[in-house]
Amino acid sequence: MKSTMGIILTDGMNNRLKELSLERSIAAVPFGGKYRAIDFVLSNMVNSGIINVGVITQYNIRSLMDHLGSGKEWDLDRKNEGLFIFPPYLSEFGTGWYKGTADAMYNNITFLERSDEEYVLIGQGYAIYNMDYTPMLEQHIETGADITVCCRDMSDFSIEDQKRMGIVEFDENKRIYNFMEKPLKPKSSIASMGVYIVKRTFLIDLLQDSVSKGYSEFVTDIILRQLDTLKIYAYMFNGYWRPFSTIQLYYRTNMELLNPKVRQELLMDRRKIFTKVKDEPPAKYNSEAKVRNSIIADGCIIEGEVENSVLFRGVRVMKGAKIKDCLIMQGSEVGPDVDMQYCILDKAVKISAGKVLKGDSEWPLIVGKKVKV
């Protein structure tokens, strides 16, 4: 897919993931022991042969910039092409803070104009999935679509979750005739994954046209308004896909990694997920360690009991500690005889000896970054 360039949209300001997204964009939220959410869309692009990628960011960009760096972990530190990061900027013609997704792309239209790939693939930084975009591009070319929207049957989500999605209906040729953003009563279980393919020059036209009319959103202002006039087609993806739109989904997605099938599809596939690496030594288990059904990253030292949990890099679990159904992020320390269940510990949290922390499977207890309990 050298003929395609990529644009990754990272979210606007929100606290959907509560304390976890206070100081970082959702795209930079840690996941699965060593990843950040954005690793998936970025690796998907690289694995599909897309090597010219722009990441559009706005809020809390520090941790995201820190993570992406020069893009070398994704092999995107290139002389031409490679990785570009676009925070908002002020200029005579620009509009300053991005008012929406279309506005954000319009502000960086130079990136689109200067690139020479024929197509643009637009993806989101908040979803976890392992996908080859090549068949989607093939379908886009075959159908002669103006815009192809990647869709998926969301029956494996609750109705509440589906209500937060963009629900689509399409005809037998897969042409979308109905697209409802966050409907109160979803008419189908097919929803957009927020991944689009469009011709580069056509996207430039669409953006210019839309912004001149004062519009700013790609979905509500461009797709929804032109469903009848443009040929907008659905491409169906059937694999595992989870957006981090609520803390419950975030927690559930991490826990689903303990399922061998999910882990296989997501992380052990030949399409590898790349991430920024830290030079941690392998994890060390001392004689008291009892670990069952868990994911443990490098640099951990374990002397306690861990069950159904995901431990990120460099976590210390002291003697007598019992950890069940927890996510514990990089560099956190769980003191002796601590008893925890259904907790999410952000980075560098310290839990002192003997504390008991219990959350709920639906409402895990979140302990913010660098907090000492």
Partner: protein, 426 residues
């Protein structure tokens, strides 16, 4: 170009023949160690942590793995515009090509590399040892005492001293005599094979040594004694800390078993002295609900469905259900089948151990293959080897690299036995 004060020359051409099949297809510095690293990583990390960013790596024996590992030096931040890492392989000259005939000869043949960098000092290192050392401190001492050469030494037990090059010093730490493997050592200060020289002087000695036909072209045996004879100022720099030549199967195994202890002698978890290595692209490791791990080191990408005790497990290893791995070292991407018992065994990279396999069974017996190399309880299985289902291996057994089930004429190999490739297989 900014002139470098010091550059390193890392001698990585040694075979390490006492590691048997582990070094049959790769040089000793490229052997996997500590659950994630190759032995050379410790020295390379020492360099970068000491502020040395220009390193020539001299290769000779089986360099492919080493070349791949080092690449352009990215993992150590050695991909530099000015300096960085350079692989220096033996090469052809106008009249003839020559292998490096000794440590000093290897450096002699790369004089032009050092000249181009034009450093004030050079540090000579070997890629064979596991240790953490700040070379900057050694250089400070070299400069403060205005030495011509500084040799790093470590205090060894008297009984072991005769295995090393021993430095006899006066009260001020000046070296007055050097003895290679003395029968009756006069001191217990062993050379660690780490030398800092003032380049101008070393250059002169290398050129003089090159034309001597009776020379072994070796730093310890020729260059150092020649400098001593000329009354040059050679000083001993005492290193205190962990330093191991993991050159035999026994020390290779023992020192890694020590890494699994609560407070190992060698701390890999030091955030101020990180050990760098290329990071494999693997997810964090997984312990299943049937898995159990204690007193062990486990790397990324592993999937543990069985029990692991007192073992070092490298990235990408799968250990299946009802299998017990004890006191063993399992290298990268190896698969261990179900219902097996692996004890006191080293398994190389990318191998497959079948189901119902037992290793380390019975009592020790001397090796019928090569007792000089294989002389302890440890059974060694090479890399890219398949051990078929229901095989039983004793202690001190050796299985070659690239062995297929066809190479096994029986499924019971008693202690001291072997399965080797080609005509060596009797």
């Amino acid at each position: 170009m900014i002139r470098k004060e010091i550059i390193a020359l890392l001698l990585a051409g040694g075979q390490g023949s006492r590691l048997g099949v582990l070094t049959k297809n790769l040089a000793k510095p490229a052997v996997l160690y500590g659950g994630k690293y190759r032995i050379i990583d410790f020295t390379l990390s020492n360099c970068i942590n000491s502020g040395i960013d220009t390193i020539g790596v001299l290769t000779q024996y089986q360099p492919l793995q080493l070349n791949k590992h080092i690449g352009i030096g990215k993992p150590w931040d050695l991909d530099r515009m000015n300096g960085g890492v350079t692989i220096l392989a033996p090469y052809m000259k106008t009249e003839r090509g020559e292998w490096y005939s000794g440590t000093a000869d290897a450096v002699f043949q790369n004089i032009h590399y050092v000249d181009e960098m034009n450093p004030k000092y050079v540090i000579i290192l070997s890629g064979d040892h596991v240790y953490k050392m700040n070379y900057a401190k050694m250089l400070e001492e070299h400069k403060a005492r205005k030495a011509d050469a500084t040799i790093s030494v470590i205090d060894v037990p008297y009984e072991e001293a005769s295995r090393y090059g021993i430095m006899n010093t006066d009260g001020e730490g000046n070296i007055i005599e050097f003895e290679e493997k003395p029968q009756n050592p006069k001191s217990t200060l062993a050379s660690m094979g780490i030398y800092i020289f003032t380049w101008e002087l070393l250059r002169e000695y290398l050129i003089n040594d090159h034309v001597k036909c009776d020379s072994n072209h070796d730093f310890g045996r020729n260059i150092i004694p020649a400098m001593l004879d000329d009354g040059k100022k050679l000083i001993a720099y005492r290193f205190e800390g962990y330093w191991r030549d993991v050159g035999t199967i026994k020390t290779f195994w023992e020192s890694q078993m020590n890494l699994t202890e609560r407070v190992p002698d060698f701390n890999m978890f030091d955030p101020y002295w990180r050990i760098f290595s290329p990071n494999p692209i693997y997810p964090a490791h997984f312990i299943s609900d049937t898995g159990h791990v204690e007193t062990s080191v486990i790397a990324e990408g592993c999937m543990i469905y069985g029990t692991v005790r007192n073992s070092v497990i490298f990235p990408g290893v799968t250990i299946n259900k009802d299998t017990v791995v004890e006191n063993s070292i399992i290298m990268s991407d190896t698969l261990i089948g179900a219902n097996s018992e692996i004890r006191y065994t080293i398994v190389g990279e990318n191998s497959v151990i079948g189901n119902n396999v037992k290793t380390g069974e019975g009592e020790f017996a001397p090796s019928t293959y090569n007792p000089k190399v294989y002389n302890c309880d440890i059974t060694v299985i090479g890399s890219n080897t398949v051990v078929p289902n229901n095989t039983v291996l004793g202690k001190n057994v050796v299985i070659d690299n690239y062995i297929t089930p066809h190479d096994f004429s029986t499924n019971v190999i008693p202690s001291g036995g072997f399965v080797m490739k080609g005509d060596e297989n009797s």
